[in-house]
Amino acid sequence: MIEFVSGISVVCFTASYLVALACEASRLVFRSGVRGAAMIAFGAAGLVAHTIFLVWRAANEPAVPLSSAFDWYLLAAWVLASGYLWLTISNPKTPVGLFMLPVVLGLIGAAQLSSRDPFPQSPATQIWGAIHGSFNLAASVAVTIGAIAGIMWLIQAGRLARKQAPTQGFRMPSLEKLALTTGRTLAIAAWTAAAGFISGLVLNAVNRRHGLLETVPWTDPVVLRMGALVAWLVIAAVVSRSMARQPDAARTTAWLSIVSFAVLTLSILWGVFGVTRHGVPPVAPLPTAPSEAAP
């Protein structure tokens, strides 16, 4: 049994999600009585393998569970894959997988390109590290869901504006539901991203005080990209809220959500390929300098 569980790799659940995505895409080509069951079966199989993989890593890593960039991306993918499965079961006619599964696969790809080494930590920084990671995870998931809802809103609005009946197998949720989702996720994303950024600053200060990590400078790509993302999300949420009573508010919010996702994607790419001092162990121990301001 242990041999079987330890043998589950990223390829296992990636392949399952790919098959589920192929099933979703086939909606546009032909009808099938068994496709729904196949989609759920492959999605569930992928999620089970994904869960076992993460649990196995959490149980066997010497550091705090799931504390590497690799784990963070896989955890974000897991949250979205769970959402996909739940939405597919509750709304089998909506092709939500066409939008969610590529993001899930993209996050798995980002995980593969990221370091599997856990971020250096001590008992003093573990809680702040967990808070920082959790808020960033929540913000990323909220931005992704909001963008998916925004794209669906634009597709549905386009269909209604062209006065076309819905395409078989490609039935979108109502504009009302999608607008509600984009508005709420944008607000949640702004709050959680801000909380993630602030907790990151606190974490950096604690690290510095205890000399655990090198100080992350203000000009570090991670600080810049996170700052830019938070600034954008706050502006987008404020604009969306201020336009709430305008006739075109839903369309504006849909676009703001999509742009937020683009900003998040750029931020992730920057994080994957850019040079940073974020989460890097100190080269040499720092002298204690508690009075110095943390970035």
Partner: protein, 424 residues
């Protein structure tokens, strides 16, 4: 002939005659009882809807189903119609054609509105009535169950019957539902009293709409309409106010010029608080100025827009026809194969019985000659005999099954009877 059918539909029987020919549930039960007395030992199911009256009869060797003429006369007698009037408009079929026809009917391929789903329930009801009247049997049972299975396959594997075809249903299900998630918290404004508005409101009520305002030129007429539709009355003087409060407008006045101009709408727009507005303009000429359509947050559909969507749906259904026909062909072949194979059962039974009896007699003789054999050894030998018999019978039985797929295997059955000296 094992299966027989006679019937007429909206295509062949004029409405006046169809009205006389139609059976109520009580009349159908009575007709089934009469059939049982008239043609004992036969099975029958009567399907009577507003568009068709069909009699499905079945029987085997000793009690074959009645020929078409007798079935026509029977229907005529049940409804008190001259058989001479019915004969030219009713058609009859036998065996495979009956199965194919029933499968097509149950799948909605023979319906006035292609792919309409109500026919499945009507076929189920007809079958249930025959069961209750004790006129159904194994043949009709298998045929109707196969028909319902076929209808389910057609419904799940093709898009036939998926798209809506009536303007009110398309307006509500395909467009209004595309904008709004729920209707119980929406204000519906009905302007005018066109017939199509009533049907549209019925769909909206089914979708949950409760807050309905009815506007008409005269307060009296608006009051009557509102009472009937469960809404609140108003007059055209309230139009601008109600337009600002409404979420969905159904407009069907007989006015010769637009009732809602662009200027009137723009004036109301500011008081709407940015809420989206769905307008179903079912009037000809249009009640809403078409320039209102492109305004942000407005989803305006004229009757031509909705008719075009209906027509696209109709074409989409037509495109599904070949796939549905393929399913019906497959299911018909399968059913007929099973039916033909069923006719081989007596021969197979005799063949098996002959081999079993001969084997048992030989085993008895062998065991008498070898009294020292213990029970375990006897059991082994008995099992070996049974395996041998099964293996020897397998090829002829497989040939019978394969032959049944193409039709009744009369030649093979005859050969088996002669080869193994089986009785008819």
């Amino acid at each position: 002939m094992t299966l027989a059918f006679v019937g007429g539909t909206h295509r062949t029987v004029p409405l006046a005659l169809r009205e006389r020919l139609a059976f109520s549930a009580e009349q159908a039960a009575e007709a089934l009882q009469r059939f049982r007395v008239r043609f004992p030992g036969r099975e029958v199911v009567l399907l009577s809807t507003c568009n068709r009256v069909e009699l499905y009869a079945a029987g085997e060797s000793s009690a074959m189903p009645p020929p078409t003429e007798q079935l026509v006369s029977f229907l005529a007698e049940c409804r008190g119609i001259d058989a001479g009037l019915l004969a030219p408009v009713l058609s009859g079929e036998s065996d495979e054609a009956v199965v194919r026809h029933l499968f097509s009917v149950a799948s909605g391929l023979d319906s006035m509105v292609l792919g309409e789903p109500q026919i499945v329930a009507q076929v189920k009801q007809a079958w249930a009535l025959a069961q209750a009247s004790d006129t159904a049997g194994p043949l009709t049972g298998e045929m109707f169950q196969a028909a319902l299975r076929t209808a389910k396959r057609v419904a799940s594997e093709t898009a036939l019957g998926r798209e809506r075809l009536s303007i009110p249903s398309v307006a509500v299900a395909d467009f209004a539902r595309g904008v709004f998630e729920r209707f119980d918290d929406k204000r519906v404004l009905l302007i005018g009293a066109g017939k199509m508005a009533h049907e549209t409101l019925r769909y909206l009520r089914e979708a949950g709409a409760r807050d309905i305002v009815v506007l008409n030129r005269t307060a009296e007429r608006a009051g009557k309409l509102a009472a009937r539709l469960g809404g609140r009355p108003g007059t055209f003087a309230d139009l601008a106010v109600e337009l600002a409060a409404a979420d969905l407008v159904v407009s069907t006045t007989g006015a010769s010029a637009p009732v809602v101009s662009l200027e009137m709408f723009v004036a109301a727009e500011g008081r709407r608080g940015g809420r989206p507005l769905v307008v179903l303009d079912l009037a000809v000429p249009r009640d809403f100025d078409p320039r209102i359509g492109p305004r942000p947050g407005v989803w305006l559909y004229s009757i031509d827009d909705l008719a075009a969507a209906c027509e696209a749906n109709r074409k989409s259904r037509q495109r599904e026809m070949p796939a549905a026909v393929t399913i019906i062909d497959e299911e018909t072949r399968r059913f007929m194969g099973d039916l033909h194979h069923r006719s081989t059962a007596p021969v197979i039974e005799q063949l098996r019985a002959g081999w079993t009896e001969t084997g048992a007699a030989e085993l008895d003789r062998l065991f008498r000659r070898l009294p020292t054999l213990d029970a375990a050894a006897q059991g082994e030998i008995r099992q070996a005999f049974e395996r041998y018999a099964a293996k020897m019978l397998h090829p002829p039985l497989t040939s019978l099954r394969n032959e049944s797929r193409a039709g009744p295997p009369h030649g093979l059955l005859d050969a088996l009877r002669r080869l193994f000296d089986l009785k008819e």
